[in-house]
Amino acid sequence: MQMHPKKRIEIIVEAPVLHRLTDLLDRLDATGYTVVPVLGGRGRGGSWTREGLATDAGRMVMVVVVTGEERLDAILQPVFSLVTRQIGIVTVSDVMVMRAEHF
């Protein structure tokens, strides 16, 4: 089966920022993204869990964007500007997709 190389941007960020991030991705014409709730984890500030939080302030979400390499910087720069002061992680990795025209 023929596969096509693409870039996968994974943004783990605080839930209150989510709408701003997805609005930005819409404006940047990212062809698509997926939002995933994050259950818990451990970082520089210690461990945390989604369970039993009374507010969105302590929750994290993950946004996954798959895009072509030629669009990577155009998406990554503004995304980084938006989330750089927030708690979270941004990673970029190489992935293979089956339907290149979707990204």
């Binding site: 839930a15 209150p16 920022v17 210690g46 369970e51 009374a54 507010t55 302030a57 002061r85 708690i87």
Partner: protein, 330 residues
């Protein structure tokens, strides 16, 4: 009723005891949990019920000058409380300007759940209160955020640190003013106001009869959340910051009591206004602070407002505020 009798009556109410059960379970690391969706539904029910009942009360009593004065007083309180809180935090703790401003914003804003619990205490004592205090609760959500952002900007400049908010203030205020709990509360209030006693007769079995039982279940969940916060408190709070979570609500309450001397509120109404001033937000403001002041430590303000001030207000604060209200109003 003396202050001690009020406190004892409050501490032995099912609402507070269920809260204590939740806190105990969390401290013991029990696996007792209320599913997130259920907790949200319970919160929505409480907002609907309290908002609707308040609206019906206003439909009966109408609007008067005291209402407008109380709204004005509540705005002043919400602006002023963060200024005092910020000054005290900077003087007594080693918190940065941004952290101190973020914490003080929580104390200038309000906790709807503390307010709901206080309405039950007031009703339990056979007191009535002005229905428009529901609207006051909504009004007091946002001014504190403006105060806190100004304080953070000024304090950071003095510290030589950059703390510019990346957020536009109108967008932020709109988000807080239209957060789910405020929309539900104010919307239900307006529906209650429009439909009046006829509306109440139609849905009383839903908004009145199950209220206390559902409040118990909700406070059990809040106990679990607060218990987890208490477990964290030793790790994130220094003794002066921890003390702030106890003494500062008393200062805010005293300030509100001074306003009550000038307003023509009933004892129940004064108790609720004092409770609103003494309560600390843990839903709307933390989310706003993550956007406006992302450098502020969320563990600090969440632990203080939810793990320290909320349990204090629920157990000892509310009866004290009712007692103070008896001295300054009525």
């Amino acid at each position: 009723m003396s202050g001690a009798e009020l406190a004892l009556q409050n501490l032995t109410s099912p609402m507070v005891l269920f809260f204590a059960l939740g806190a105990f379970a969390a401290l013991m690391r029990s696996d007792l949990t209320i599913p997130e969706a259920v907790a949200k539904t319970l919160a929505l029910y409480l907002m609907l019920s309290i908002g609707f009942k308040g609206g019906v009360e206003v439909a009966k009593s109408g609007i008067d000058a005291t209402m407008l004065l109380t709204i004005a007083a509540s705005i002043v309180l919400s602006f002023a409380i963060p200024v005092i809180g910020y000054a005290l935090l900077r003087a007594t703790t080693r918190l940065s300007a941004v952290d101190a401003a973020a914490v003080s914003a929580h104390y200038g804003s309000i906790s709807i759940v503390t307010f709901v619990a206080a309405t039950e205490v007031v009703r339990g004592l056979g007191l009535t209160f002005e229905g428009y205090l529901i609207a006051i609760a909504a009004v007091m959500e946002t001014p504190a955020i403006v105060s806190a952002l100004l304080l953070a900007r000024r304090g950071s400049k003095a510290d030589g640190v950059k703390a510019e908010s990346g957020e536009s203030l109108p967008a932020l205020l709109r988000e807080v003013a239209f957060n789910g709990s405020v929309v539900m509360l104010v919307g239900s209030f307006l529906i209650g106001w429009i439909s009046g006693e006829r509306g109440m007769a139609m849905i009383a079995p839903f908004v009145i009869d199950p209220f206390r039982g559902i409040l118990c279940l909700f406070l059990l969940d809040m106990g679990l959340v607060a218990g987890r916060g208490l477990r964290q408190s030793g790790k994130v709070l220094t003794p002066p910051a921890l003390a702030f979570g106890i003494y500062f609500p008393l200062i805010s309450a005293s300030l509100a009591a001074l306003f009550c001397l000038m307003l023509d509120l009933s004892v129940g109404g004064a108790a609720l206004l004092i409770t609103l001033a003494a309560s600390a937000s843990y839903i709307a403001v933390p989310a706003a602070m993550r956007l406006a002041l992302p450098e502020a430590n969320p563990a600090l303000y969440l632990t203080l407002s939810l793990g320290v001030t909320f349990p204090f207000n629920l157990t000892l604060g509310i009866p004290l505020y009712v007692w103070i209200a008896g001295a300054v109003a009525g």
